[in-house]
């Protein structure tokens, strides 16, 4: 079975020839280490070396530029849309926020959210690039043609909820839910409509599925309860969900149990990353495994980052055997493969999947 078929079979909750391995992201420093210092490899070469079945995100061979657009803001994202210098598969709206940069690593972070009042709505025009501008779509289409091989390919997008949380800040979001609920809804609607427009274009490209990244929770709990979810999030998330014409994986860190029933009504095909410190994957499998494919759960807090290869093998083997049983599971880290994962642990994960992943 080719990788693409393997992934699509699991996404539809079927049982392929082996448990597929996919990752939401692999940070470029780690990619280069895994490729023995090379920077000129194709996505397929990296996938083959690891035994991985899908790619999206970004690669050093995609050109120079910020590694990921996930944390980009006003000027950088407009540049990336209109004059793309680097191929990435990220089609997310920018944070409407004042950003900071860590000089040593170049990582960006939100210093100050800017969507805090009705007056700040004007910032949408200033920050959001024209979603119909063809430059990025054309560039990515060429890359897909060139490098697709037999792999499953995905872009990363948002429903707009994370954009709202991060651009408002959770404190302002919480206050305005009570003080000016219509403003919160308007902010979510605007992000969602931008994403839906982007999706219209992505639907035309040769992608196999979408990876939809919107954090809604911390390890303790989701940030809203079901009632709040139904009123403030779901109607706007549905704008994007309805636009998606291909299967999709929903990603949110943290404990989603309080709103999971609501989230599933959006119609996602899979859920990721089932963070072990926040959600019991056995419960997810037992209660939701007949409704949604499960992706993830290899711990990033300890196992991949601080653990030993033996601990990685034990955890990966456990998930392959228990959660992989009967299909509908794709193995993955419990977020992404970050620069601070131990190299030997990533190889241990790869080897264990090769050894024990077959059905």
């Amino acid at each position: 079975m080719e990788s693409r078929e393997r992934v699509m079979t699991a996404l539809m909750r079927g049982q392929p020839d082996r448990v597929p391995w996919i990752e939401n992201d692999i940070e470029e420093f780690l990619q280069i280490s895994l490729m023995d210092g090379r920077k000129d490899y194709t996505p397929g070469e990296l996938c083959r070396k690891l035994g991985m079945d899908a790619f999206g995100y970004h690669f050093p061979s995609g050109g120079e530029g910020t590694h990921t657009q996930a944390l980009q803001t006003k000027d950088s994202i407009k540049d990336a849309f209109y004059f793309p210098k680097k191929v990435t598969f990220d089609f997310v709206p920018p944070w409407i926020a004042e950003m900071g940069v860590v000089p040593e690593t170049g990582r960006t972070f939100i210093k100050k959210p800017l969507l805090t009042s009705r007056d700040s709505l004007k910032l949408f025009d200033e920050f959001l690039p024209d979603p119909d501008h063809p430059a990025r779509y054309e560039l990515v289409a060429k890359w897909i043609d060139k490098y697709r091989e037999g792999f499953a390919i995905f872009p990363r997008i948002r429903l707009g909820s994370a954009s709202m949380f991060e651009s408002m800040g959770l404190e302002t979001f919480s206050y305005l839910m009570y003080d000016d609920p219509d403003l919160v809804k308007e902010i979510h609607r605007r992000f969602a409509e931008w994403s839906a427009r982007v999706v219209e274009h992505l639907n035309e490209l040769d992608f196999d599925f979408y990876w939809v990244n919107d954090d809604h929770a911390d390890t303790k709990n989701s940030w809203v309860n079901m009632e709040m979810y139904e009123e403030f999030l779901k109607p706007y998330q549905m704008i994007v969900a309805k636009a998606l014409k291909k299967p999709w994986i929903f990603h949110s860190d943290g404990n989603l149990f309080p709103i999971l029933e609501g989230l599933l009504t959006l119609g996602m095909d899979a859920i990721h990353p089932i963070q072990p410190s926040a959600m019991d994957i056995n419960r997810v499998k037992a209660e939701y495994g007949d409704r949604v494919c499960i992706v993830g759960n290899i711990d990033l807090n300890y196992t991949l980052t601080l653990g030993t290869p033996q601990e990685v093998e034990a955890e990966v083997r456990d998930r392959l055997e228990k959660i992989g049983k009967g299909g509908g599971y794709m193995i993955s880290s419990a977020n992404s493969l970050t620069d601070y994962c131990k190299l030997e642990n990533v190889w241990a994960m790869a080897e264990t999947i090769k050894k024990y992943g077959k059905y």
Binding site: G100, V102, F109, I110, L170, E171, F173, S174, Y175, M177, Y178, D218, T219, K220, N221, S222, W223, V224, N225, M228, P258, S277, L300, N301, Y302, T305, L306, T338, Y340
Partner: protein, 211 residues
């Protein structure tokens, strides 16, 4: 009087800031002491909120508006508290450790600590060992509360604890640690004084160590 204290408490738990401000003013005008309002209404209210958050009955927005309701009552009470015998429980310094820019957990801890009657100095995110040490020297807090969200920055937590040791300040402060990747085992390994798995647990630990 008892019912007025209860009404203030209920209004804080419900996050109704206008009601809280009105009833607090009414209670003060009626002769109720600011210290009693603080210790018998506002702090117990935030304790209820913390428990409800800890058990999953309350979610973030409910906790945020409750804390805001309490905050809005404080300017009315403050002049009276200064004249009376009310004292804050202790001083705590909070911060997300160097290299880590996540502030949600740290902000929740700050909010719950203030709600519990502590004076909190918030050093923000990406806080270096030097900044913690300088603040400990200048402010003499009882607690230093360190937050980290990613595994990578747990090492910063370790280094900050070591730096506090080396600066000879260890006997002067109690160090609490928390955040998604942090565990009791890790807290023991780096020599922190306590670990809590959420903000309510942090407040409980501080209360225990202050009593």
């Amino acid at each position: 009087m008892g019912s007025e204290l209860e009404r203030i408490k209920d209004a804080v738990v419900a996050g109704k800031r206008d009601q809280v401000v009105a009833i607090v003013q009414e209670a003060l005008n009626g002769g109720l002491s600011a210290t009693r309002i603080m210790t018998e209404s506002l702090i117990p209210a935030m304790n209820v909120v913390g428990e409800k958050y800890s058990t999953g009955e309350f979610f973030l927005p409910q906790m945020m508006i409750a804390a805001r309701a309490m905050d809005e009552a404080l300017p009315i009470l403050r002049p009276h508290l200064a004249q009376g015998n009310y004292k804050k429980k202790a001083k705590a310094v909070v911060g997300t450790v160097q290299g880590d820019f996540h502030d949600i957990g740290k902000n929740i801890v700050k909010m719950m600590m203030e709600g519990a009657g502590y004076e909190v100095i918030d050093l923000g995110v990406d806080v270096t060992a030097d900044a913690f040490i300088k603040t400990i020297r200048n402010e003499s807090p009882k607690f230093v509360l360190l937050s980290a969200l990613i595994t990578l920055t747990m090492d910063s937590m370790k280094k900050i604890v070591e730096a506090i040791d080396h600066a000879g300040l260890r006997g002067k402060v109690l160090i609490g640690v928390g955040g998604a990747p942090v565990t009791q085992k890790f807290a023991n390994e780096i020599g922190a004084d306590f670990y809590a798995d959420d903000a309510h647990g942090c407040v409980s630990n501080c209360n225990r160590l202050t009593a």
